[in-house]
Subunit: 115 residues, 2 copies
């Protein structure tokens, strides 16, 4: 066991939650995505996706813009600079967690003990 703070303590629930992590990682690649693209890629309902986007927008991690494409109403979601930073912090914490897991899987580098 390491005496360092456990890496899950670095996770922010706003970012770590499954659907929101999905939204942020997609936006990290695309910059901006349409509501219906996020919905189909992440297999969420309208209501569910709407609530998660609201949480992210309230945290300043995404910006939402409503408009029309022709007559069709559309909603675009854009990653903010704060969102990009928050995702990078989460990814660093995930990498630390995965590295610790891999280390504990290697019997040469780890002793198992009951605490």
């Amino acid at each position: 066991m390491s005496d360092e703070p456990h890496s899950t303590l670095s996770f922010d629930d706003t970012v770590h939650q499954r659907a929101r992590l999905g939204i942020l990682t997609i936006l990290q690649e695309t910059g901006t995505a349409d509501f219906s693209y996020l919905k189909s890629t992440l297999q969420l309902t309208d209501g569910n996706l709407g609530r998660h986007i609201e949480v992210l927008a309230n945290g300043g991690l995404v910006q939402v813009k409503k408009g029309y494409e022709g007559r069709r109403p559309r909603t675009w979601v854009t990653l903010t600079k704060a969102g990009r930073t928050a995702l990078a912090v989460e990814m660093d914490a995930l990498k630390a967690l995965v590295a610790r897991f891999d280390l504990s899987q290697d019997p040469k580098k780890s002793g198992t003990k009951t605490v």
Copy 2:
């Protein structure tokens, strides 16, 4: 963008939730841990830790044993085989997510486009 299912779709909320991921990764190293050890390492309240352990126990991912050490009541939490498997599945999904994130950070390997 990849056409593969998004890696966050592989996450199971029972395992992925921040505190529960912490509990499982600690138990993966220790096999069994005492309630108060988990509480201090993960900086949770009694009530909060108790609820997360209940969710994991209901999912068959941990077993709980109550007893005494001298006169002091203690609660031990042990990872089950199903818990070990579920954590390994989560770790594979996290690795895929981190790899995709790293790839998108490399401008030579990724194009940014709006969808």
